[in-house]
Subunit: 215 residues, 2 copies
DNA sequence: AGCAAGTTTGCAATGCATGCAACTTTTGCT
DNA sequence: AGCAAAAGTTGCATGCATTGCAAACTTGCT
């Protein structure tokens, strides 16, 4: 199967890089543990630093804002989306690239799904985190809007691509809710997720056609 | 024309209430001035308090989070939307109520439009404010989603109403951008705003029908 | 070993947010 | 008017996140 790592050159990491990566992962892991135990607001940077055995300053070094401790992979996931949207071939629509991205990033083993569920429970129990997440999705909306605008030959700031981006991210939100509400095995979760995605794309496609007919 | 005040009983405010209201408005006004002059992050609560001639503690009293100083009316506007959606008559769809709300709340005189433009410039020049705004729109999305779910006989957490809510708010976002980008007179701004809204509703309507046909 | 570059850390300062208690003003009642 | 309760304002103190800066420490390389 195609994954992100297929396209990324794997440099042999030096000791320095490996250590840095390990520190980063340790901090993120213990932070998630603590958030799950006591809640996000109730956990201080200092406590995270203590359990990760680093200085508080180091935590802030790796994660300039506290919220980033929860959304540790959103950045790379969205980078990947951007790459797929921008480097898609001429016969591939934005919708195709988007769907392929979702297929590639969907949690597919139990461990990954468990981590996702843990993150989602933390996020959904804290308003600041939900707000922060909405801020993150803004970027994805814009990426999608830009790609859709290209497909449709519309200006980037046109209403239609923006609505498509927003509706798409609403679908991904619904998908995230599913991840936590249900207690499904990974395969079943994937199936339902793709069902949601296809439903969203049908909606969007019909919306676009409806608007083109009216114009 | 119908406006919010038509349906709200105007109690004769006592001195206490009037004073409170005046203090609140003074704080909000000077805060907006300062934000426009120096920027949001660059202005401290203390400076706002000084110019408003109150204690810093009082500012935090009226506006528990700094961001609220910019979004002073969003709360009541969304209250009004909620009221309109929930108290609509049987023959009025969610879309009807929504459109009526937009017509009622659109800035229609120069002074109001100027204030809106000032707010929007401040918001768009600061990332924290944009994020905060996205958090606020979550509520509106949910109100709309709930009303649309009722109209369509779907569960509240169904994908379709959620996408409709998201797409609708994307349209309002685009509308807000228009308010600042252009230098239009109020009447022209209103006209373009309604054009956008109708375009959004065409998109959404077609999307819903497309999905119903496929189901 | 020893130097240069890159990391981690401690320290200090700033600013937002909040609980609490003291203080002032307004209100309602006699 | 006079007074007591209620409501609003303020000062004080604390906790926490975030950031700049410089010192201390590690690693990579010669």
């Amino acid at each position: 199967m195609e994954t992100a790592s297929d396209t990324v050159r794997e440099e042999p990491l030096g000791l320095r890089e490996r250590k840095k990566l390990r520190t980063r992962e340790t901090i993120a892991r213990v932070a998630l543990e603590l958030f799950a135990e006591r809640g996000f607001q109730e956990t201080t940077i200092r406590e995270i630093a203590e359990r990760a055995d680093v200085a508080p300053r180091t935590v802030s070094m790796y994660f300039p804002v506290k919220e980033e401790l929860v959304f540790t992979d959103h950045g790379v996931l969205f980078d990947e989306l951007e790459r797929r949207l921008e480097s898609r071939s001429a016969d591939e629509t934005a919708a195709d690239a988007l769907r392929a991205w979702i297929v590639a990033v969907l949690a597919d083993d139990q461990a990954e799904l468990d981590k996702t569920r843990c993150q989602r429970q933390i996020i959904e129990s804290d308003h600041a985190l939900r707000t922060y997440e909405r801020g993150l999705t803004e970027r994805a909306e814009q990426l999608i809007a830009a790609a859709v605008a290209t497909d449709l030959g519309l200006p980037t700031d046109d209403l239609v691509p923006r609505m498509v981006g927003a509706a798409t991210m609403a679908a991904l939100d619904a998908l995230a809710d599913d991840a936590v509400d249900e207690d499904l095995p990974p395969a079943e979760y994937r199936r339902r997720a793709l069902e949601l995605v296809d439903q969203a794309m049908t909606f969007i496609g019909a919306g676009i056609r409806g608007l083109q007919g009216a114009a």
